[in-house]
Symmetry: C2
Subunit: 246 residues, 2 copies
Amino acid sequence: MYSQAAVSLTRSQAAPFAAAAEPAPTLRDLFKGQSAETLAAGEALFWEGDPAGQIFDVISGVLRVYRIMPDGRRAIMGFIHPGDVLGVSFQNRYLFTAEAVTEVKIRRFARSRFFGLINETPALRPQLFAILCDEMSAAQDQMLLLGRKNAEERVVSFLLSVHRKVGIGADIELPMSRLDMADYLGLTMETVSRMMTSLARRGLIALGARHTVTLRKLAALREIAGHDAEDEDIAAAPARRAVWPH
Amino acid sequence: MYSQAAVSLTRSQAAPFAAAAEPAPTLRDLFKGQSAETLAAGEALFWEGDPAGQIFDVISGVLRVYRIMPDGRRAIMGFIHPGDVLGVSFQNRYLFTAEAVTEVKIRRFARSRFFGLINETPALRPQLFAILCDEMSAAQDQMLLLGRKNAEERVVSFLLSVHRKVGIGADIELPMSRLDMADYLGLTMETVSRMMTSLARRGLIALGARHTVTLRKLAALREIAGHDAEDEDIAAAPARRAVWPH
DNA sequence: CGTCACTTTGAAAGCTTTCAATAGGAGTGG
DNA sequence: CCACTCCTATTGAAAGCTTTCAAAGTGACG
């Protein structure tokens, strides 16, 4: 999943710190003490332009983050999944609106405390840096997708990115609507629908009940998606080092 | 200019530190001691996939940073201008190729030293953070542009972003080719050319000699560009605070 | 079992691309 | 200094892909 606003820490916090003599704290540990809150589907967590006061750890559910143009056109910048931390890469104000796609459970943390702790805990800084780098990387994947891929490539890239992120075997859950997908992929919902149908007709995917999709021919799909991190889940991706570069 | 990979520090290093009792070092000061190097137009500074060993301060000239798909399609992620720092937001490897558009002068700095200094100098950390946030912000502007704007809006948004960044009065310099612009805007060079002609015919811009363009009707252009930071240069943009959030 | 919201499908329209040719500009060499 | 060449930009026309507009289908929920 291209989540321009949040990046899985399950990846970023990996390896190097596990070997540390004393158990180094991970970023997500900071949220441990916070109480969980629940958002109903459709509810907003914060709005574009709001003072960026808090950071959120997503426990369950999926959110969409988006911006709206004056005339109503919507661009979804990403979908936020459990394990992602949302709200890091802002200065003063949130750059987009975050809204629950499904019911969502989150823990929140004041940004001041968050950054205060990071200041005091050198071990956390590389993790924060890793988050930001992963966000940039995802944003660039998305720019390539939006700028140079056709409708089919976009849809397939999306399916593969979901698979990479939360796929269980060959099945993936797409809790968001076709319109959400369209606004994320720079298409219309009709085009997304047509591409899904076409892929299914060709046996590359199978459309299951509810929001379930089965990726039937991964290799062929990867071929279609073109340049991507599509190879990353073949070999267990060597976890990106969450280390302060040196 | 949407530079997804580098962000002007002239903005980010502003206000808060100026008032500090003792002159706080700025990130760009780090490069002061480094010797300048020159790249000829077309020369690459580094390649996508190279180990990310260095960080660069651009003194003069313009670079393009891009990724290429297996079949040759190119997506330019941004243009890097003097005052930008290039190469910060990478973990292990450069995510794109950086190539000189014009002759370019840069200073380089080993990432290890760069991050070492940042570790030792708390005052630099907010600046680094600010760079990364600005990069994310620019990346999101670009995603909106690529996903939801039409050809004319893209071209106008681009002209305005250049104007905001390096505009002198109503004139702007576009050192890059139409193809560069096209690969940045997710269009073809023909479409870019047509849009420029159309804007000129309507008197919104004037195409000067060389790579010069005059923005004749800023208000109208801003109207066309739609949602952007187009208002930022009306009132002197309150420099984004380069402070560690608290 | 009816309603509402979302999805799929169809057909036409529209915008951008593709293919092709002309024009323009800069640099080179006579 | 001018002619020539090459490369980039512009312009035209047709093709193509995605969107738009519309209608039918599907599924969840009360």
